[in-house]
Symmetry: C2
DNA sequence: TTTTGTTGATTGATCCGTCAATAAACAATA
DNA sequence: TATTGTTTATTGACGGATCAATCAACAAAA
């Protein structure tokens, strides 16, 4: 029962955050969505921030898994980079609820060391995933810079989704980022 | 007296948000920082979200003013773009408190239409400021895309500051963004 | 019967917003 | 100038609402 409930509560947390748009969701709200009492949520998670952290870890591991799958299909360095970008803007990831949760967690990270730690894991992983492709395409120092740029672009488009009404368009975000990459690759070839 | 108090309360709001890292600051906390009672804060602003909105507007107008000053010193299109970037990462803007406030407002925008409206003003202004330089350097459609990229990069580096401990380094952020711009300009010249 | 699952009720804390009351500044008037 | 009236500034205290967390109690497996 326990794993079931935990999963349901975490899912409920994401959808609640997604709907409300911030971490300002009550335990009762979350528990209600999961079809249980708030007391049960406390029973399984102890305190609210532990539930939030578990939710964050869940998001993190889902993105990690998606990235790995996406990377496995890549057959060359360039495709590896594209795969990482694609994973971040897949339908599963680039969704209102998930995006809202990421943003809220970024804010939370400013006061919660635990959250900050988790976000750093995300950042490091993203960087190294990007580098795994970029390193073969340009000198290390240049690759580092481009990876930082792409990472900032990804987070930037995530945050900017907060401005748009209606459906977020992952397509145009991908287009801009890929254009950045292609331009960079082109430049590398020219320099050689 | 009124203008004095309003200013003090808005400044107190920014510093409180900056220190706590989120909008989860109480009226008492803010009022205390401004050296007045919480009742007075209510007297001048009515409700908490009005104070928060006033704070957001203040941030917005400060950034707008800084951008205008920075732009005035530019003597050619390329410098105009650089000026906009520089304004966003000036010591005055790229500061822990201010950054925390921007992020928190982004999250708030997901549930508050008023905040969303203000952030859209910011986004539009940034875009048009960037376009004022880019349009002279490349075709409009390309300029649009580059402007979107730079805007996302700026917001991306802002949000990523939440991960770093210690002082935020505006310098490396500027370096990446300017590198992006230069690469793009180079590409334009080559295409011609 | 021991362990696991589950809840309703409750507690204690926090916090927004209001209000009545006081003080200070200001205006009017005799 | 002295006095009276009026608006502005300011606060302490409080009502009312919300919410996290606890707990005692009950049901259901094992």
């Amino acid at each position: 029962m326990e794993p079931l409930r935990r999963k349901a509560l975490i899912d409920a947390t994401i959808s609640a955050i997604g709907e409300r748009g911030s971490l300002d969701v009550t335990m009762s709200e979350i528990a209600g969505r999961a079809g249980v009492s708030s007391a049960l949520a406390h029973h399984y998670f102890g305190a609210k921030d532990e539930l939030l952290q578990a939710t964050m870890r869940h998001l993190l591991s889902e993105l990690g898994a998606d990235s790995r799958v996406s990377l496995r299909e890549a057959t060359n360095p360039r495709e590896r980079v594209l795969a990482v970008i694609a994973a971040n803007f897949s339908d599963k990831q680039f969704q209102a609820g998930t995006i809202a949760a990421w943003l809220a967690f970024y804010v939370e990270a400013q006061k919660s060391p635990a959250m900050r730690r988790l976000l750093r894991v995300y950042a490091r992983r993203l960087h190294s995933n990007l580098m795994s492709g970029l390193c073969a395409l340009m000198p290390r120092s240049e690759a580092d810079r481009v990876a930082e740029g792409i990472a900032a672009l990804i987070d930037g488009f995530y945050i900017r989704r907060a401005l748009k009404d209606g459906t977020p368009n992952a397509a145009s975000a991908i287009a801009v980022i890929e254009d950045y990459l292609e331009t960079k690759l082109h430049q590398q070839k020219a320099d050689k």
